[in-house]
Symmetry: C2
Subunit: 245 residues, 2 copies
């Protein structure tokens, strides 16, 4: 008799140490906005994407000729090609390119997970595709919520709940209290997702920088089938990587 694989949810990067397990698939999520932007870039034809934590790294890549997305406090950095909004990753800018994306929170989580069996980048934009990819080999799945400066946030938790809900329908078990609570919040929110999500504190921050135009896009469920997966320090398309296995 085979043991059912499990789904667990890490509500803050600070708690990842209690879940870390190199045989698991880790799904990193930062709904507002890093992982939504990354999924949008791939949906619009990007070939690969290099997440970087610091402005200096982004600048070094720019000097080498990369297309660089980087902003701080709502302003595009002077050396960058455009800012961090998912809306910036338009087809004409990203198709067949390697994009460098500066995101402190998102990069921290991706780096943190890099000993996992596989690191996938999730958002509402690709949740069904993530469930498919993460469960391909019945590995245990850990959702790593980026949160906000170490704190819990609602939007990443809702994504974790949505993924838990799908994976349970694929035979996964959710014994972990975080996964159970995330799923309950998701079930509470899902029929009215945008309205429910309006309570998240990150929306207030985005508004204060005039960056909230992407809010609804960030909850656009299954907008794409693209699944970004980490290969070295670069995100590539899951399907492309599978072809090379």
């Amino acid at each position: 008799m085979s043991i059912s694989p499990k789904i667990e949810v890490v509500l803050s990067p600070d708690l990842y140490k209690y879940y870390q397990d190199n045989s698991s698939v880790v799904v990193v999520v930062d709904v507002l906005r890093a992982t939504t932007a990354i999924c949008t870039a791939f949906a619009n034809g990007a070939q690969s994407l290099i997440p970087v934590a610091s402005v200096d790294e982004a600048k070094e890549y720019k000097a080498k000729g990369y297309v660089v997305a980087a902003e701080r406090d709502g302003s595009v950095l002077d050396f960058a090609d455009f800012g961090n909004s998912p809306f910036n990753f338009t087809r004409d800018r990203v198709t067949e390119s390697t994009i460098v994306y500066s995101t402190t929170n998102g990069t921290r989580c991706i780096d943190m997970a890099n000993n996992a069996k596989q690191v996938l980048v999730g958002s509402f934009l690709n949740v069904a595709a993530i469930a498919e990819a993460a469960s391909l080999n019945n590995d245990n799945v850990i959702v790593l919520c980026a949160g906000w400066k170490g704190k819990f946030n609602i939007e990443d938790t809702l994504f974790a709940g949505a993924l838990t809900n799908i994976l349970k329908s694929k035979g996964y078990v959710a014994d972990d209290d975080s996964a159970k609570a995330s799923e309950d919040l998701w079930l509470l929110a899902k029929d009215n997702l945008i309205d429910y999500a309006k309570k998240v504190s990150q929306l207030k921050r985005l508004k204060s920088f005039g960056l909230d135009d992407v809010f609804e896009h960030c909850f656009n469920i299954d907008y794409t089938n693209c699944v970004p997966v980490l290969s070295g320090n670069t995100l590539v398309l899951f399907n492309e990587m599978q072809k090379n296995v």
Copy 2:
């Protein structure tokens, strides 16, 4: 115009550093079972209670003649008077006594918070009284959930949600995503609290040690008006302390 005081929820002791603020009142909660046991002890007439983290400390207090509650993995330690179950704190054992209570998780949280303006010990048994005491001076309130070995747990989060709900009715604001999500889980659970709570992973652990007989007692809302408050390294009754101010 006065600013509304705020309620925030710390879902794991590991995240307390992001909330810590010496001017706030901190409510420590460990529903299954430490803070429920502590509230039960005071409800049954205990005069004071000294929480200790280690078995060695508990043993030292025993040698000095204190009544000591201490167990590990479901067994009463040989030197102790009784174990850690709330049911052990009967009137005949605790009235007018100072009890030493050995709890690793609970003591860690109480110690962690000891620079706060005030540290209160909460559980479902005293949630209304906690709301009253915590809001007495309109101070900001932080709920510190003990969780389980650093992880999030559902039962402490439900308590945090119940307290958030009451404090909002007293004019508090809950801007923090943790407080909002806790309240939503509480509203989802409250009409069927025991049934909802049966999903918590801690119940399985208690059952495996035969310690689950107290489960329903731990969700006995407003069983007592006693509010334990930290004074030095000792918990005393809030009302008694107020009299001495």
